[in-house]
Amino acid sequence: MKAQRRIRKPLPLLSMISLVTLLSACSSLGVKPWERGILAKPEMALDSQPIVSALDDHIYFSKEASSGGRSFGGGGCGCN
């Protein structure tokens, strides 16, 4: 049992290290407020065409077994 525990321990430890590394990496990413000219353009928004996204999502929702991801999975429709 002890041996097993020793083998199992590195996993959570590894996850913690990864998480901390990821978070510290995130904190080194980013820009100053005056460097946001390009990112502030409407076409650089992650969902820059919400009507297009909604129309497309509805098509794929009704034709495929998957939905959501970007936002909630949809529903409210008898089409699937």
């Binding site: 995130c26 904190s27 990413l29 980013g30 820009v31 100053k32 407020p33 460097e35 946001r36 000219g37 390009i38 990112l39 502030a40 353009k41 409407p42 076409e43 650089m44 928004a45 992650l46 969902d47 820059s48 065409q49 919400p50 009507i51 297009v52 996204s53 909604a54 129309l55 509805h58 098509i59 794929y60 034709k63 495929e64 077994a65 998957s66 959501g68 991801g69 970007r70 936002s71 909630f72 999975g73 529903g75 409210g76 429709c77 008898g78 699937n80």
Partner: protein
Amino acid sequence: MVDAVSEVAAVAATDSGRTAGKACSLSATLAMATAALLGSADSQAGFLSDDSDWQVSAGLLVYNEQDRVSAVEPVISARKSLDTDEFLNLKLTIDTLTGASATGAVSADQPQTFTRPSGNGQYGIGVDTTPLDDTFQDTRVTLNAGWERPVAEDLTLNLGTALSKEYDYLSLGISSGLARDINAGNTTLSGGFSASFDSVEPVGGEPVPFATMLPAGSAQIRQGSGSDKQVLDAIFGVTQIINQRSLFQLNYSISHASGYLNDPYKFISVVDPVSGEPVFENTEQADLPTVAFENRPDSRTKHSLYAQYKVSLSDSILDTSYRFLTDDWGINSHTLDFRYRIPVGNGHYWQPHLRYYQQSAADFYTPFYVGDDRPDPGDSSRYGSADYRLGDLTGLTLGLEFGRRTASNGWSVAAEYYLQSGKEPDNSFGSLQNQTLSPDIDIVFLRVVRDF
């Protein structure tokens, strides 16, 4: 995420009279809002300088499946700034569908006649032809309303409601979400929750699982007029600015649906164990094949991971995303999406689009039953569906958009071609092997959007 949460929001009228009234008053309001906008100062998306301003967008989708469903879907949305960083979002969508829809039955080398869902009337399917019910028509009206406002420094709250009504289906939904900016606004953490309460009243009543279709005019085997379904969704995301030109988003979502998850209009053919031909055993109507109505589990839990990366490459913008989805029905899917926006001067741009989708079949996907394999009518402990959307399939979309965005408004037109290819069943035998049981579906859709 803020937009995503508000997307789900909604309220709508439940009958056509009320809907028409609301649509009229909304149009009048939007017309006034548009007039107001024309004289307004320039504004950036989501950040209006004048509190009385409305941002109005309208779109139209024209959708056509070869030999199957056609749809026309107008949508109008309006966003009003109520206060600094406080917005009201409204959206009205009307979806009109007509055409023919796959029933799940197999094509055969002899004619087949099926009973319509109402139980009154029938439709004939020719030799070597995929059985489609050509009476499919519906109009769906959906209204979404959302409200977003800052509740603390760098913390935004979204609340929304949704109502969607079609002939045989009603859905009421609520949603809420929180988004928190950290790391000097370079990182946004978000979380959201939504619940929808749906009810379905199938035309002709709710079929008993695996019950046999009876001839038109006979009392079909039904178990009531309809049932309910609930869907709970939660989503957690992080959005990170990488540098002056790029950012990414990573979302995890979980969705749990429970209740009536069957498609009441889908059924499964029973074929002869030797010849592979449909069984015709109805003594009153010789050309009515034996088909059993489907039955799915009464709950489904889906998990998905969604990653999006957007980068400005000199003047062009590359927008890519990937989604992995897995559920307890045995379906796994992968979705890849690329949009590449190429400016061509004076605010005009071209935007090619490529999307690839692949899914594995649900554990209970059953394109046909062989003889006695068919479960007994009413045996709700067993599951089976021949709905091709639960089978192995791939989808490929190619699209091209042309548009223009100026400082104050924009428009776009797009044409997309979507090819859906199902996998032929591995266990085909006999005359089934001469049939195309999962025919490709060609879909073309045109989309026009105008931001006022």
